[in-house]
Amino acid sequence: MEQFLQQFTNGLAIGGIYALIALGYTMVYGVMKLINFAHGDLFTLGAYLGMTILTSIALHNIFGVFIGITVLALLVMGLTAFVGAALERTAYRPLRNSPRLSVVVSALGASIVLQNAIMLVYGARLLVYPQHVLPNTTIALFGVSIPLMRIVLFMISVVLMVALYLFIQKTKFGTAIRAAAIDQGAARLMGIDVDRVILIVFLIGPALGGMAGLMVGLYYGQVNFTMGWVYGLKAFTAAILGGIGNIPGAMLGGLLLGVIEALGSAYISIAWKDAIAFLVLIVILIVRPTGLLGERVAEKV
């Protein structure tokens, strides 16, 4: 039982990260109906940028951990948001009226470019964050030991999810985002500045990705240029699991994926854990073809 609880919390912690990346994925998907394959690389970028800033200015020593990391997070988010918006301009906007699969190829291309650019700038060797930035206190609860930072990471994911959800569902601009997702022309006829909507989405999505990268970098301490590939795929899986385009779905999907992985490792096989996760995904999709909280299909004949 203790083992189970421990593994369950391990899973939640891993899943929290997946969820955070998945949020950005889903956000972009929701509007552009575009699987932004470059999202994983924006995540990598966030991790590298965080490291660069932190090694050149020890923000955490200047301002103290809390403010220092907050400032760092804002900087990283700002920078990745900027790159994201630039990406939209160059690789996605010219393809706005193209067949969907063409855009997928463009996104794959963008992913390759970003990944290799990072490699050329930073080198292929893995790099390491400064040590001891985050406090490494561990809390014991009911015989389960949970590092404090994991709880913090988890909370950040939840808070961001809720904020994003409220923004999309409850605000007027959020409704405009959803409208632009369905029919850009009609949205324009409502007076919605679709270009601005897309720009904002491409600021928020990559910012979230960058943020996730920073957190992974800070907490796990190492970055390398291919890290986005694995995490990107996981986050994409999570987003689909929850129902792509759906914000609470991304959260749920991420957490579930993390827990499946942890429990799969614990009780079945570590080597097969990813296969198990995919198998569960497939079974869930067979039963619920649009994911757990997926969009209700509103197509009438």
């Binding site: 391990n10 891993i14 990260i17 490699m119 490494n136 561990t138 796990y220 301490g221 080597a271």
Partner: protein, 350 residues
């Protein structure tokens, strides 16, 4: 155009790019040095590098490309299945291949005449690992690999040797490239081993050590030579203290003049860096062996070179003396036990 052409096939892109790029740096440095000393047989050495992307299909093309360029020998590559995809191509073209990071036993069991390697085989390292485990007196051992050819091969060898002598309480694989291994560590811990033998690579090893500490678990870890990379210390920080691993000695630990000279030249050329990967250093040994053989036979004829290399003649390498047996494998005891002490890699006394 009167040069001696030597090929280097290495993963310059893809997930092993860091290893490959270091190989290129090392071999380029050695080639420059050789040329500065007047080259080989009075001719300049021309180095031709091709990227194998760490992928068998690309490697096959790289091998075809190199074999059309009149090279005498080729150094490389990293990863057994990648090497294997190129083996027959070089063999059919009668080009000496000296692999540097391919440890699968079967590569030299095919009776290929022109294939050599400066790395040792999984069974050799497995043997040393089993010895070490026994010496440490571990009764219950956990073996963790990462399902790559190398890592799995080593784990299997060690397992086979340890079976019956100690209890193997855990045997499974993690997925490399992830960041969070707490689920695996939790499971490992529950198996209650006296020590863990991890046969994967240094990034994962670093994370395992760090997260193990975080969990408040302090079972000793023994690693394979793929964890011999200074970056391990950066990743794991002080949690690496006490970590044991097996490795051929790296130049830093060799008293020989060659090794010292190499290190200082490397640092001079590449902004004070030291080579991080032992495999990359082994590519340097490959180059040195190739050059020595050409000098010794006084020609570039593959058959003669192969015969000479097979003869058991000893060469002075960056990783100590080396010679090849009739299969093309490096002979001699190579592996040493290292530990992390005081934040540094330290060679354990025998």
């Amino acid at each position: 155009a009167d040069t001696v052409k030597i090929g280097l096939m290495a993963p310059l892109t893809g997930s092993w790019a860091s290893e490959g790029q270091e190989m290129k740096q090392i071999v380029e440095l050695l080639a420059e040095e050789a040329n500065a000393k007047g080259g080989v047989l009075g001719k300049q050495v021309e180095l031709i590098t091709e990227d194998d992307g760490g992928d068998p299909k690309t490697a096959a093309l790289a091998a075809q490309k190199l074999s059309t360029q009149g090279i005498v020998t080729v150094i490389g590559t990293y990863g057994s299945s990648v090497t294997e995809a190129s083996q027959t191509i070089y063999d059919e073209n009668q080009i000496i291949q000296i692999a540097n990071g391919s440890t699968a036993v079967r590569l030299t069991e095919k009776g290929l005449q022109y294939f050599f390697r400066t790395s040792t085989r999984d069974d050799e390292q497995g043997r040393v690992a089993a010895q070490t485990v026994e010496k440490k007196g571990w009764k219950k051992v956990a073996i963790l690999h990462d399902n790559t050819t190398y890592s799995k091969g080593l784990a299997d060898e060690a397992k086979a040797l340890l079976e019956g002598k100690v209890e193997i309480v855990f045997y499974d694989a993690l997925t490399p490239g992830e960041r969070d291994y707490t689920a695996i560590l939790t499971k490992l811990k529950a198996a209650g081993p006296d020590g863990v033998f991890f046969t994967g690579y240094y990034p994962e090893a670093g994370l395992l050590l760090k997260q193990k500490k975080e969990m408040g678990w302090d079972a000793p870890f023994l690693g394979g030579d793929a964890t011999n990379n200074p970056d391990l210390l950066k990743v794991a920080g002080d949690t690496a203290e006490g970590y044991l691993f097996l490795s051929p000695p790296v130049p830093q630990d060799l008293p020989s003049d060659e090794a010292k000279a190499f290190l200082s030249a490397y640092a001079a050329k590449y902004n004070g860096a030291t080579p991080g990967s032992i495999w990359a250093v082994l590519s340097g040994d490959g180059f040195r062996v190739a050059v020595a053989a050409i000098e010794a036979t006084g020609g570039t004829e593959a058959d003669k070179l192969a015969e000479y290399l097979h003869s058991g003649k000893e060469f002075v390498g960056l990783t100590g003396t080396l010679s090849f047996n009739e299969k093309g494998d490096r002979v001699g005891e190579l592996y040493k036990v290292y530990s992390v002490t005081g934040g540094k890699f330290a060679l354990q006394a025998e």
